[in-house]
Amino acid sequence: MAQMNMIQAINSAMDVMLERDPTVIVMGQDVGYFGGVFRCTDGLQRKYGEHRVIDAPIAEGGIIGSAIGIGVNGLRPVAEIQFADYIYPGFDQIASELARLRYRSGGDFFSPVTIRTPCGGGIRGGQTHSQSPEAIFTHVSGIVTVMPSNPYDAKGLLISAIESNDPVVFFEPKRIYNGPFDGDPDKPAVPWTTHPKGEVPEGYYSVPLGAAEVVEPGSDITIVTYGTIVHVAQSAARLAGVDAEVIDVRSLLPLDIDTLRRSVEKTGRCLVAHEATRFGGFGAELATTIQEECFWHLEAPIERVAGWDTPYPHAFEWQYFPGQKRVAAAIRKVMEAA
């Protein structure tokens, strides 16, 4: 086992797949010679050549549109969108084409494109380098949506995504690229070497799409979350002094409802947390599903903690970010409700 941060784990997933499967290609802005602005594709072009690790024009719609055609012609493109905030120019190609192709052609055509994109705030990126638009994708039928919270999952899930014949939008919470982040920006940064999920096999393995993980068992309350907030939630539960069961959803669609149900049936209380804006966020789907499934077990309303319903402001990053305090307050609210 090696120690890897999330960037290295993601790099390793692509490396492994480029090596194993000659049909895999990587494309995106600055991914080739330079190795990506976050270095996720560092060294891959040197190793696999310019025809398999391809720099692309600055046109997200063109990257996704051409990736679809590349996929239809038997290759497996892994396309990087430099920031999730810049995925929207490609949204039509994702929602109208990539997501629809298998369905509308009666199963005759499909394109196994994986779209990787860094998301989330906490790096002083301001409103155009901090967004978490996952809910916009989970509402489009025909796309798998994934967000890992650690290097081990990142590599395993990315390998599954690349191997999948379905289109996958793979969100990478950039705040935790280099280390887990418990939500407190004033503490010194912690590297992944301090975290068990920073141990990552060098070779091939996969983590299945569609399976949540109970990252911390507990009995008082279920916290359903994903991405950066997995770590924040764990700290917040400690802060609140509550024995929380923390579930990392990992795969937003397909959603592992069973794991959520089992937990909430046990705890009777539930908090849903994510970094994306709250209104119409993925938390709404989680909360609604859970109340549908577990209503009779619920002892308190399901609460949501999320980004405020504003753009992500540069100056108020830490007032905006749903940090420990906010999560802890919500935990207490759920625990106290009666």
Partner: protein, 411 residues
Amino acid sequence: MSNKSRLHIPQPSARPGEEPDFSYLPVSPAGAVDRPGISAKTRDIEHLAHEMVRVLDDDHQACGDWDPKLEPDDLQIALRTMVLTRTFDARMQRMQRQGKITFYVQSLGEEAVSVGQGMALKPKDMLFPSYRNQGLFILRGTGLVNMMCQCLSNTRDMCKGRQLPVMYHDKEGRIFSISGNLATQYPHAVGWAMASAIKGEDHVAAAWVGDGSTAEADFHHALTFAAVYQAPVILNVVNNQWAISTFQGFAGGERRPFAAKGLGLGIPGIRVDGNDLLAVYAVTQWAAERARRGGGPTLIELVTYRGGAHSTSDDPTRYRPSKEWQAFPLGDPLERLKGHMIREGHWSEDKQSQLEQEMKDKVDAAWQEAISFGTMSEGPFLDPQDMFEDVLEDMTDHLLLQQEEMLALKD
């Protein structure tokens, strides 16, 4: 130039009640445009975007370097496919009017585009059509029955009832799934061609959009990517003068031919008489050969006219002169090919009548067969359960539940 900026609103040359006027469309004489070699420098052939490649003259004679010198047999295949396409269209149009299918789009007047271009390409070349390229499917043997079953959304529908009529595809025949979203197929074709190049194969891709659709982002993306990677792709713009009610000037066709839109990226453009099957064939073959040899993309503008309504939901008498088609200087592609074949002595009006009857019978027989697989009102029907398939490769749990919910409801 006026003395003040003022919003310019492009104007079609004629509106209902006015005389059709095609003076805006410069037409080169047949044979007048030179045919450069496929290794010509793009810089030296920019004029091809501004003139109009034509082979058949007004007397139906083939002229000039672009004459592809097709064998009589090939001409007959072309004519046959064009007649079949028109017959098929007419029948399906009628079936829509009778309520047998929900929607239809004809290619009336544009048959030479699909047939001529389809013939010039090789079977392993991949086609990315718009909804007005039925001739490609007919030519590649998708089969009338299959196409009709698609339009009927019946038990043999290749789309399993999921798409509007005319949104065909043909995996075996290497024709991509048609999208209702305009121009989206353009970057797909470029991507497909990029993959072909990456794999070191020599298959080319070809894509079609209408004049109006060139305003979409995907057009720009496709051209940019095609130029940057020198993808082996043929990007076709079918300029049939109209985009529903909007004439081609609103897509930027007022000042320059659509064929010129790639010149700024170094993509050669050829404007061709889209109703001249020989010219269409010739330029397509030229572009395909060029792409196959690593010469990169070509943009072909096919100048034609949308002979019918935009679709069965449209009424063009509201926005254009009803006699405009008759006045179109490039005529009717069927008449012109027929005239040429008669002139060359391989064909006659008699044979034409026979052919037309034969095609009518063929379409009739196909229709009878197609409806045996179900219509919108009479079974057999597709199983609504199938609605939940193919969203992803495997059905997710939440779709399984929804499927069960639907089934429970039916009982």
